[in-house]
């Protein structure tokens, strides 16, 4: 067993389970698989023989491990549970447009939505995002640019939400 005590595991979980779930749901598009991934990632954290170097290290480790675990799940495509009603029912949206934007984000390529999430939501710089994803900062910048352009195009294709994009000028 690893170096973390039960209390430390619980604390780590409460601080970061939400982030790991967001990454997993975004990449796997499937709530049951995303929940399984959360458990797997934190089990791996529990098995670590070395303590984390600090808050930044533990967060980065969880991001990279979550992403790798999702890739494993996608590789073993047959393991993915079939999408069902509950997948969407688990999410409630403040505005209808939020649900539509989430659906569009899910359609982006894996590397683009991951870069989008780390940079715009988690607040990592493009350099830090590049480190986490094992790529050059310039590559990440082009992914971010492409992701936003794709979202803009998709939003414009969508009549109801398209009006809002015109207002915000994207």
């Amino acid at each position: 067993m690893g170096v973390l005590t039960t209390e430390e595991v619980a604390s780590l979980y409460r601080r970061h389970a939400g982030m790991v779930y967001q990454i997993s749901l975004m990449l796997l598009k499937n709530a049951p698989d995303a929940e399984d991934t959360v458990q797997t990632v934190f089990r791996r954290a529990m098995e670590r023989e070395e303590p984390f170097d600090g808050p930044d290290h533990e967060r980065a480790w969880l991001i990279v491990t979550a992403r790798n675990e999702c890739k494993n799940q996608l590789r073993h495509w047959w393991r993915t549970k079939r999408a069902d009603v509950e997948t969407l029912d688990n999410l409630t949206w403040e505005q209808p447009g939020d649900g539509e934007l989430w659906e569009l984000i899910l359609t982006l390529p894996e590397h683009e939505k991951m870069a989008l999430y780390l940079h715009y939501y988690q607040g990592y710089s493009t350099g830090e995002t590049a480190d986490l994803m094992g790529k050059n900062p310039s590559t990440v910048r082009s992914w971010l640019c492409r992701a936003r352009r794709r979202l803009k195009d998709l939003l414009e294709e969508d009549g109801e939400y398209g009006g809002q994009t015109a207002e915000t000028g994207l």
Binding site: M1, A17, W102
Partner: protein, 285 residues
Amino acid sequence: MEDKQLKQVFDQVKLSPEREEAMLADLLNKKKEVSGMKQANNRRRLPAAALVAAVLVVVLAGSAIAAGHFGRVNVVPKDQNIYGGAGSSYDIYGEYNQIPVESLSEEVLAYGKGLGEYDVVDLPFASWRECTAFLGLDLGGNSILEQLPQGEGGCYLDGERVSNYVHVGYYEETPVVARIVSSYQGERYSVDEEVTIRTEENYISGADTRMDTYGKVTSEDYVTPSGMAVKIVIDDMREAEFQTIRYIAHFSKDDALYMLQFFPNIESQSPGGLDELKEILDAYE
């Protein structure tokens, strides 16, 4: 779209507090179980004979559903369920050929461009025939299923419930697996059909599909008049929360692996359900 809109969306993607706490409790319980096992192992090593016996128990339990003409079907003991939850599951190993990537349509190949290392695409269609046309495959249809209204199975895509969709898995922009999912609603039953093909670029070994079961599981071999060998798994969930029986038929045909989930309507739970499933199986071209 502004940055705050993205942030607002991600803010709402979260587990409920109750679910998060339940998952944490489950995680911590497993930590205790593993710690307990480690301590026990440190105290006393199991003799080799006991280990052999334990393995035999697992193998015998796995053969509760025996191998058939179609391929091996194995029941994994409850504690080996890969999802870690209660209940059982079984793997399906199909005997069917992997098809050349080039035999898929240009459109399918085009969808892979620009995708990540591993990625999937789900696309809705109006009918099963349209799904096969999109893939560029000539799969024989089913004269009974194609007469039925569309069912409530399938999935949600872009917020819309769809009864027919194609799921394509890509590795480095190349399709490695495709699945057609269709849902039908009869008067006395509903049927969800899944047809899976794998391309020659798919190097993943092991089982084709894993299914979770929820009740008492038995199986039956059936051969259609045309000679198609079918393994039917019967998941009797009447004592579980679902209050129904589910029949799951597995067979391979035309370089594809088929799975039919047949659900008799709850109000018409009759032994005739299995016969109706067999009629559907007999109707495959």
